[in-house]
């Protein structure tokens, strides 16, 4: 099962297995990663699941869709080059080892 690591603002790391097909927001909530919330349940309506994809992984995750990019305009922390809404990153074999940085709120 793909393993994902969230790096928090204070440097602490949380690593967990994320079943293929699950999204990174629901995985973060399931593993108590702070500050990744997902108020809208993962349907691009709230922008509260914002993460920065580790640059080394950005080619694999890809960039945001147009609508996702629109919603990235209202994240609580300003967007950066590798910003994604984590509900739109779906776990897959090629994302085994993915590193996501959680913006400090």
């Amino acid at each position: 099962m793909p393993k994902v690591t969230w790096v928090l603002g204070n440097g602490k790391e949380i690593t967990a297995e994320v079943p293929v097909g699950h999204n990174m927001m629901e995985a973060a909530v399931a593993h108590n990663v702070p500050d990744v919330i997902g108020e809208c349940g993962g349907c691009l309506s709230c922008a509260t699941c914002h993460v920065f994809v580790d640059p080394a992984w950005f080619a694999k995750t890809g960039g945001p869709s147009e609508m996702e990019s629109d919603m990235l305009e209202i994240t609580m922390v300003d967007r950066q080059a590798t910003s994604r809404l984590s509900c739109q990153i779906i776990s897959a074999a090629e994302l085994d080892g993915l590193i996501l940085k959680v913006p400090r709120l």
Partner: protein
């Protein structure tokens, strides 16, 4: 051992309140009582991804089952509460047992309005959409080719119509008011959705009062309308609004009117009892207000949690809401209550547009259809307490971003 904080109602507001209490450092005993047999779950996907099978129950849960024990929260399911005794600070459960509390939070939500039995409301084949149990019983009946009658042109009704039409049912939706979404959106938005549903074969009848549902052998066969016309139906979804669950509070002598009356700190008429979410009626911009949304369930509950631990300050949200119908995402920021002008802005793509609601010169709400950018910037402007000239709202070439950032001119 101190008395616990007890939360009655294990839904979105309940779990958000519990999570915030722990996050704010409350480490005393915390007990959540839910009348359903499942831990808190998300309602929006019930009629969509859950019904289609894309999401199973574990993924519908707002927090995994293990979270409650990890957070030292006692979660009791299938545990209805029969009464409250504020004077003694006790909760009396359905099984007769009693629990003392130090503080109490009522996050009891709301129940769907049903048609009375006298007009066929209890016929087999008539459904509401609120709980997991509702959708579990509805799903087998949603079969291609069947005739579905949707009663009510609000979000529940329109979403049900969309799901059913996409599955190949023949759908007729009847709305008593002159237009769908009467309470919550303007004519422009009603027109947009009427056309959208029409393109998918859904028949929408407005100013259409239902006289009664008809049945044979206890099972729905159709409906008799106020104008005397008959509609055939194999099943019906009733989406005519929700009633706040304020009966426990009322029975205990708390002030209720369209929900449990609370102040800006979510405190009820009894000092140690708070309320939040669909069941709570709070003062907002000079009016008693009860918001029905996931946003309010979460944010009001979090405000209540802070207040229970001594924080001051009024709950002053920027409400937001969404609805998914077919491939259209409706997103709403602010509350259009009291608007006197609605300005249409075309979006970049076919079918995308937004409507900007004004009260005088002040922007109070935005609703967008497949125009997340308009929603995003409108929300930012409203949150900042700023406004935007109507001409800018109407001009698709105008740069909304600068107005959202406060540098617009």
């Amino acid at each position: 051992m101190p008395d616990p904080i007890i939360i009655i109602g294990a839904g979105q507001a309940g779990v958000s309140l519990a999570a915030r209490l722990r996050a704010l450092g409350y480490d005393g005993p915390l007990l959540m009582l839910g009348e359903e047999p499942v831990p808190p779950y998300q309602r929006p996907p019930l009629s969509k991804k859950y019904m289609s099978g894309e999401l199973d129950l574990p993924r519908l849960l707002i927090r995994p089952e293990s979270w409650y024990g990890e957070q030292d929260i006692e979660l009791r399911l299938s545990a209805p509460v029969a009464a409250l005794s504020p004077r003694e600070r006790r909760v009396i459960l359905g099984d007769g047992s009693e629990l003392r509390y130090a503080k109490l939070a009522l996050t009891t939500g709301a129940r769907p309005r049903r048609l009375p039995a006298s007009v066929g409301g209890d016929l087999a084949g008539v459904f509401t959409i609120r709980n997991l149990a509702d959708v579990d019983s509805l799903t087998p009946a949603v079969v291609p080719g069947k005739a579905l009658l949707v009663v009510g042109g609000g979000y529940i009704g329109l979403e049900a119509a969309a799901v059913a039409a996409a599955k190949g049912l023949r759908v007729i939706l009847v709305e008593m008011a002159p237009r769908i979404l009467q309470r919550v959106a303007c004519q422009l938005t009603a027109d947009y959705f009427r056309e959208l549903h029409g393109r998918h074969g859904v028949v929408i009848r407005e100013s259409a009062g239902l006289r009664e549902l008809l049945g044979a052998g206890g099972r729905l066969t159709g409906a008799l309308m106020a104008d005397g016309s008959l509609i055939e139906a194999d099943l019906a979804v009733i989406g005519i609004g929700i009633t706040p669950n304020d009966d426990l509070a009322q029975g205990a002598g708390l002030a209720v009117e369209n929900g449990i009356l609370v102040d800006g700190s979510c405190r009820s008429s009894v000092e140690e009892i708070f309320a939040a979410g669909d069941c709570a009626n709070f003062p907002w911009h000079g009016q008693r207000t009860r918001l029905e949304s996931v946003q309010n369930a979460i944010e009001q509950a979090e405000h209540a949690a802070a207040a229970m631990l001594g924080a001051s300050g009024d709950y002053d949200p920027v409400p937001w809401f969404w609805s998914d119908q077919y491939d259209v995402k409706l997103q709403i920021a602010g509350l259009s209550r009291g608007y006197d002008d609605a300005v249409l802005r075309s979006g970049k793509r076919e079918g995308s547009q937004s409507v900007w609601y004004f009260a005088g010169d002040r922007l109070i709400a935005v609703d967008s259809k497949n125009d997340a950018l308009a929603y995003a910037f409108g929300k930012k402007i409203i949150e900042a307490g700023r406004s935007i000239p109507k001409a800018v709202a109407a001009d698709p070439a105008a740069d909304l971003k600068s107005w959202a950032m406060g540098t617009g001119r």
